[in-house]
Symmetry: C2
Subunit: 253 residues, 2 copies
């Protein structure tokens, strides 16, 4: 089967920042197709993180970062999950059944892993390891969006900053957001590492000791490309201040 390669933009960037957007796409390519979902379902947050790619691109331009993003919907394979996690090819997402994922054999699971997860994981790892070899130790920041209403309940948080084993960058970005913006910023909201949402950080940042954080933006604030670009304009100095803070801490230690 065809391998679906990750999409990489601004590869010649000289900054340390590597932006990762695992849920950038709501493409439903063959041979899986629409998985039995309606057009409305395929446009909804169950299929992707609406607005996340636009914010990531806005940050890429402002911060001289490299960007890597997904070529297909997370409902075929969620690239932020290991192949045996329930969420990798979910039979149900929030209140929606996913008919095309109702019965997945071990061979189906292997085929999706080979078509989507392996090219993604290798592509991201190669990108990171090459920059490490050149002496440009990357900083890994993943960009996500979340739905303002989940299982019928509104969420107050607007900007969530999630960490895994190394909290330094997430804490610094969250502090910077509270100082520089009026966003309702919260650490480890609306999810945390305990919800198994930090696979990318664990696989690609922690083993190399790279600073890392997962950013979550409420998707009603980035509902069109103009709003997403305004959010990137708001968050670029926030991320910069976070990076400056962890560089200070590294020098002091």
């Amino acid at each position: 089967m065809r391998a679906f390669q990750p999409i990489i933009e601004n590869l010649s960037a000289t900054g340390r920042l590597v932006l990762v957007c695992e849920h950038a796409s709501n493409a439903f390519p063959a041979p899986w197709g629409d998985l039995g979902l309606s057009p409305e379902q395929r446009a909804a947050h169950i299929a992707w993180d609406p607005g996340a790619l636009d914010v990531a691109r806005g940050l890429m331009h402002r911060l001289d970062a490299v960007l890597i993003h997904a070529p297909a919907t997370r409902l075929i394979y969620d690239l932020n999950r290991a192949p045996d996690m329930k969420g990798a090819m979910p039979a149900r997402s929030e209140i929606h059944d996913i008919p095309g994922n109702a019965t997945i054999t071990a061979q189906d699971r292997l085929a999706r892993t080979e078509a989507l997860y392996l090219p993604w994981a290798n592509g991201l790892h190669n990108l990171i390891a090459r920059r490490i070899a050149l002496g440009l130790r990357p900083v890994i920041v993943t960009i996500h969006s979340f739905t303002p209403i989940f299982h019928g309940r509104p969420r107050a948080v607007e900007f969530g900053v999630i960490h895994d084993a190394d909290a330094a960058l997430a804490v610094a970005i969250n502090d910077a957001a509270r100082r520089l913006t009026r966003l309702n910023a919260q650490l480890n909201a609306p999810y945390s590492a305990a919800d198994d949402v930090t696979h990318t950080l664990r696989l690609h940042a922690t083993p190399y000791g790279l600073p890392n954080a997962m950013l979550e933006i409420r998707n009603d604030l980035i509902a069109d490309s103009a709003a997403a670009d305004r959010m990137a304009e708001t968050l670029a100095p926030v991320i910069n201040m976070g990076l400056t803070e962890i560089q200070k801490q590294a020098k002091a230690s």
Copy 2:
């Protein structure tokens, strides 16, 4: 430049064990060649782990394991090191200068990373992730050997079992070695994770929560292939008892 692929044996194995031998080879392929070393130096432990591959093969047959091993000497690229670690392409190893590594530019470092480290890391990751997708959660055991005399001092330890973040399998194997063999077995000897020797475990086992351990055998005990096979015969039940113990613990928790 040519990519040097890892060598995989017994890929159709149905056991959970994945044996990894990062220092299996003392081949010095072009374009790097002998790095200015004598034949004696190229045969010595600075270039590879003598006997480790023979032990690993003996274990592979006895335990129905898959085996992955290195295609070239660790002095060109040490596959158990990240690209920016000092030991990845060392200018000096124990008491030996490595002339071909005396002055390595960032571009040289990138070229070796692309030729050796990336194919290895991708090959091992693909092997592991495919088995995870099929529901066969692997157990990762790396096989090494160490020199009986280091910087002029003899080492009493004969069998070292080293762990990283998850100690369970290493503790179980060390306990089994003490019960089943007369080997001088020690935990975290002659090295430990603090010496940065557990890169493979950190990159390939920890992110997936896979049981893992690094085994070190004193190389005077495996000086020829018959001795290495006797060591495999000794260690196969030790590893089996360790695997049984962690399965018990997993069921009890």
